[in-house]
């Protein structure tokens, strides 16, 4: 990181820490909580999709299962976050291991569709779980400290911070570099003797576990979980966020999630025809900013530096 980047990161972090202090009302806090949760979910997908090159169209499965683990345990009387959160993350990791092990036999679009297939199966499982609300979803009463919006916000912020740090370390690690190299040229890495399948699977599992964690936070924030959280449209939304932000760019997932949600929220408050605006924005960004929003920012930055050097 350059000093300028450190500075920007510091300012953003400070701003995020101050959100609950400066917020005019609870809505602002909740909106920021939601932005951070989706930033985490999208970043976890970016690890799998952007760095690992595995286009998962079933990422919402972990997001939803994470939420359901919290919900089902809470209504069954086990509300302790230490237990529910740990179990949720472990279960999502296990699930990702299973799905990944089978799906990684395929490549390209076949991989996209087989991950979708597993997510859809899980979706219908939760729709049919009538004792836990079925399609209506399940209201959850989170444990008391988490019911305070400010406390929960800071928990979310800290969780996101830790996860992003973790993702950064992964990206910079030997493992991370190997995974990115596999994405670029799989057969070369295989020839070099790398255990390609195992590396990809581990990457897929980490992504699933982190998405599960985001789902846990989301269920606590909403005090509610429904099968919508693992619908294909939710998986699609995560994908759109990552592509919008910048595939394989470290901040791509987070920036994409924030911009996507803010764009939807803002346009949605203006007109019921907001989808027209969102659609046009997506199209324009694809056509004119090939590297996504992060790509746009860095090329603008490069242009500025060049101009300054010229002047």
């Amino acid at each position: 990181m350059t000093r300028a980047q450190m500075l920007i990161l510091g300012v953003i972090t400070l701003g995020l820490i101050l959100v609950p202090v400066l917020a005019a009302n609870n809505f602002t806090i909740k909106l920021f909580s939601r932005l951070l949760i989706f930033a985490l979910a999208a970043s976890s997908l970016n690890l799998v999709l952007g760095y690992g090159g595995m286009v998962s169209f079933g990422h919402a499965a972990y997001f939803g299962v994470g939420g359901y683990v919290v919900g089902i345990l809470t209504v069954s009387g086990i509300a302790s976050p230490f237990i529910t959160w740990t179990l949720a993350v472990l279960l999502c990791a296990l699930l990702a291991a299973l799905i990944g092990a089978i799906s990684l036999r395929t490549r390209g679009v076949y991989f996209i569709m087989i991950t979708l297939a597993f997510a859809q199966m899980l979706f219908f499982v939760f729709v049919s779980l009538r004792q836990y609300g079925g399609a209506d979803g399940l209201p959850i009463r989170p444990p008391d400290p988490l019911r305070d919006g400010r406390t929960l916000y800071y928990i979310i912020l800290v969780t996101l911070g830790i996860c992003l740090f973790l993702l950064w370390r992964i990206k910079e690690s030997r493992f991370g570099r190997a995974v990115q190299a596999i994405k670029e040229n799989e057969s070369r890495m295989m020839a070099l003797g790398y255990p390609v399948f195992r590396y990809q699977l581990v990457c897929f599992i980490i992504g699933g576990a982190l998405a599960g964690l985001a789902g846990v936070l989301n269920a606590n924030l909403n005090a509610f979980i429904s099968p919508n959280a693992l619908a294909w449209s939710q998986s699609g939304q995560f994908m759109m966020m990552v592509i919008l932000g910048g595939v394989g760019r470290f901040w791509g997932g987070a920036l994409g999630a924030v911009v996507f949600i803010l764009l939807e929220t803002w346009l949605g408050s203006l007109t019921i025809h907001w989808q027209l605006g969102v659609g046009a924005a997506l199209l324009i960004i694809v056509l004119f900013a090939p590297g996504g929003l992060v790509g746009l920012v860095s090329s603008a930055n490069a242009w500025l530096i060049k101009r300054r050097a010229a002047a």
């Binding site: 679009v109 199966m121 699609g236 056509l287």
Partner: protein
């Protein structure tokens, strides 16, 4: 189950399969030849249905409506290709996904602004609106028989075009090796526009023929688009034969699941338990089918490129 019921349900499976084939054929062609994931395929299907509905209402003739929709949708499809999609061929699949998702949103809103939020009227023509008696005591909806006929005709036509004509040769060349085709002097740009037009026309046929049995409304393309993707992935991308067999497989498995599963479950678990899980289990079957096929054949049943 009586023999007539079994025959009727088999016909239903074939018919559902051919319904999906109409949509999947264009999708797999565009995907296979241009290596392009086009989510807006569902939007073209919706446009086809709306155009059919509008022209049918205005002229009173369903077949005029279908004709107008085919021409109109093909033109819209080609215009879309020349203005936007052409710039996406060289981009990765993910950019194509995001861009065409944007197009879905835009088209949905435009359709809603023009036709309103409420579903629009589209019915089968009078001659095909009732059932016909195939053999004494066995009746089947005429329109669905018509659908089966058109589905088979479209399949034959596409086989003929792809395997027997010069355009088809280019198509096959383009699908397996684009540079080679270009070197052979195939005018790729024009060819792609035409193929896109053909894909859009197939969408219009699907929209026009499914409109009379399904609700013609905003968003009608998305739910069926997922099924079309399931079909082409099972069949192997780029293969018309694969799309046809994939579609029939999906149609028959889904139909069998809904027709037989409740009976089997009832025998195993008793009536109440069976009604409890039947619906969800039937919905899972086609995804299970896809996962199983991809497990054994990671590139679908009939991969076009090897």
């Amino acid at each position: 189950m009586t023999p007539t019921l079994i025959v009727a349900q088999i016909l239903n499976g074939v018919q559902l399969g051919l319904m999906l084939f109409l949509l999947a054929a264009g999708l797999t062609l565009i995907f296979g030849i241009m290596d392009m994931i086009n989510l807006a395929h569902g939007s073209l299907y919706m446009i086809g249905a709306y155009l059919t509905a509008t022209v049918t209402s205005a002229t009173g003739s369903f077949f005029l409506g279908v004709g107008a929709a085919i021409i109109g949708t093909a033109l819209i499809g080609m215009a879309l290709e020349m203005s936007v999609l052409r710039q996406l061929y060289k981009r990765d699949h993910l950019s194509q996904v995001l861009a065409t998702f944007g197009i879905i949103l835009i088209v949905n809103e435009i359709v809603r602004m023009i036709w309103g939020a409420q579903p629009v009227l589209l019915n089968a023509p009078e001659v095909l609106s009732g059932p016909v008696e195939i053999v004494p005591g066995f009746r089947y909806p005429a329109f669905r028989l018509f659908l089966i006929g058109v589905g088979i005709a479209v399949a034959l036509l596409l086989f003929f075009i792809v395997n027997r004509t010069r355009v088809g040769m280019w198509v096959r060349a383009g699908a397996s090796n684009r540079e080679m085709a270009q070197a052979m002097g195939v005018r790729i740009k024009l060819l792609f526009t035409l193929i896109f037009g053909l894909g859009a026309a197939l969408c219009a046929v699907a929209g026009a023929l499914l409109g009379p049995i399904l609700s013609v409304q905003v968003g009608m393309g998305e739910s069926i688009l997922i099924l079309a993707f399931v079909v082409i992935v099972i069949g192997g991308i780029g293969s018309i034969k694969g799309a046809l067999i994939g579609a029939l497989l999906v149609g028959i498995v889904d139909t069998a699941g809904r027709a037989l599963l409740p009976l089997i479950l009832r025998d195993l678990l008793g009536r109440d338990a069976a009604t409890n899980i039947g619906g969800a289990l039937a919905s899972v079957l086609i995804y299970l089918l896809m996962a199983l096929v991809l497990f054994w054949k990671p590139e679908g049943l009939f991969p076009a490129r090897s």
